[in-house]
Amino acid sequence: MKISQKFIRKLITLGLIVILFAIFAFTAPSFLKLRNIQEILRVAAYTGIICVGSSFVLIGGGIDLSSGGIICFSGIVACRLASIGMPWPVVLLVAVVIGAACGYFNGWLITRFYLNDFITTLATGFVFTGFGLLAILKDESGTLMSQEIKNKGFLLLGKHLNGFYYIVFVWIILTVIAWFILSQTRYGLHTYAMGSNSKSSEMSGVNVRKMKVSTFTICGACCAVAAVFTVAYQTTAYLNLGSGMGFNAVAACVVGGVMLGGGKGDAVGAFLGAIFMTLVNNGMYKYGLDTSWQYVFQGAVILIAIMSDAGFAAFTGRRLRALAEKNNAEEALLEAKAKAKGGNV
């Protein structure tokens, strides 16, 4: 099999992106402005970093809908720390530790009590938002205060280097690292194995429980990174920071070919999925469409993506298997006979 299924799936997403890009470039006047490209990349980076984390969980056969909560909690903590003057590396570190801890908690809860991924992370999402509420600045009578960060060093994270926001660079770096881990290292191999067939990988000695917990931990850490950069850009944190990002990230991964069943797709697919979803939203504004159509379009895109993927997987699966059976059988039989007669080669 020269061209692998994974490559074809990425080609489709890439094709969609190029087509959309062309359509918007020619029809929407302000689309090609540098500023707009910067904007697309910044928003795509925010979704993309979460997608990196979500793709680990998805490829490992799970799902994490609590990203919104983790972003809210780690974002608010980062905002509090930054506003009392902590240097940005310390803030980033603390936030990532908190995000990872939330992810670890998700993984521990799911593996320890054999709970269903989806409802557990949905619930813990609320719990983490609750922690965020605990952490947010409140005045003496208990009402929340919104707080502007003055800490110059920290705000630098939200700035951009001649046009490209730092978050974009972080996103690309994280994607390359994730791609490397998933495709080159043993850990990545075991993640795919766990996602594709967890029983047999367990029988072959892969510690599925520890692996699952680690994928959720990585996802939590990625959410924290995204949160810190967003808080730096917005110079404040608020309660519904990151609300709905859990689902958006999963949707972007699915569109990018990281399937819900597990074992499919990779970090580059998630990268392309994030770009595609952001491109869709950004393009929609250009036509003065009422933003409510953006929600309609998002819903429709996700439905079409999972339906076509179910179809694509079924179609390619069947076609490839039929092909394999047909030529394997004849070819093998001929060769076997030849070998038997002429002794082994």
């Binding site: 080159q184 290292t185 194995a193 072959s204 394999a324 059976e325 059988a329 060769e335 038997a340």
Partner: protein, 502 residues
Amino acid sequence: MENELILRTENICKSFNGIQVLKNVNLEIKKGEIHALMGENGAGKSTIIKIITGVYTKDDGEIYIDGQHVQINNRHDAAEAGISVIYQELSLVPELTVTENIFLGHEIMKRGLPDRKEMRRQVQELIDRYGFILQPDTLVATMGMAQRQMTEILKALSTEAKLLIMDEPTTSLSASETEQLFVTMEGLRERGTSILYISHRLEEIYRVTDRLTIMRNGEIVGVVDSKTVEADTVTSMMIGHELEKTGVRVPKINKDHYIEVKDLQLGNLLHGINFKAYGGEILGIGGLVGSGRTELVSCIYGTIKKYKGSITLDGKPISRSVAKNIKAGFGMVPEDRRTAGFFPQLSILRNIAISSYDRLSKGGIVNGKAEIEHTEKAIADYDVRPHMRKLPVQNLSGGNQQKVILARWLSRDVDVLILDEPTVGVDVGVKAELYVYMRKMADKGSIIIMVSSDLAELTEVSDRVLVLHNGTIFQEFRDHKATQQGVLLASSGVTAKEGEVL
């Protein structure tokens, strides 16, 4: 003599809750030998395999590998000792390539990263050494069954397995794939890997194995040379003395109430099936696992709808919808109770009444009293223990669960009852009861079709036996002429000379 044996077991014994399953089993397999193991279901062959591979622990007895004594308590010890198993349903990861699957769990690392080049080289070397037709980089998901099997074998060999145990590997292989597997096995034998080959198919035993050990009732009854042994001797050793017939029952056949199947064809699984099943008789259907028996009865029942040919009840073609057939009096006890039989969380009452709501409800409203009466009568009639209709069925024993499913149909006195392996995993006492109920139903004039691989059941209980082999009806045994030996031979496509009963 000692080091010539790759595996020697000494007086292995094992018993499950009081029943002695293995009695002093001494299994000997030479190096570089393909050794077959045959025996009826329940003869203990799967138990001895599980002990050797560390799934069960033996009660007593010793195991010697390459002459040294080994203690095998779990799967890991077995792998250490060089024993690896290939189960029927393969344990490969579809999304990984051949190389990745083979080295899953024990990758070769170089500077902290999996050394892909080295692993691929080793896999290629294995492929060339054993003459497999595989590429190291193909995804398992895109491979056919035969190639997957070869990958599974390679995976075993990659851990320097000295003894390869293959559990009925050819059940889901096509003819050409099976041939391909045999060539591979011969290649392995030449390189000194010994194989323990478990199968029901006699022709396979002749084709590829050197020696054959036969087990019955937990004991080894003989070790013969596969090439020279007569089919009859093998079957008679498997069955032991023929149980003398308990009086020939002349079933009250009702000639004009029958189901007729005319040249039924289903893909490449079934072709040219023609037979009639008459009211009042129990028609047994024999044949090996995977010879299409379940598919055949599923076509009759309506779960499989896409088949060519016609199936008629008393001349009228039957519908292809399960719901209509049930109304017309059909009923089915499925092969796998757990996945398609009972509703685990629901109570005995719900499980039994689920099929008879056409009688137990008016205008969609369930008649509670009638439902309870119906179920209590069914529980009493078929002695489902414990007699608590509210108890979830998942809390019952295997035998009682089967009785619940049987009661589900017999309680509405079905006209056509299909049973698929009705007595698997059921203790002897309950087995006898099931036969009585089936006989009673048949005497009432219903058509009973029973698929079974239990030879005694087929020959004793059913009045007439059809044996399927390679998708067609190979042989029909009328008027109680069916002998266990005859059925067994027929299942392997060998016809015992008519009338000669060993």
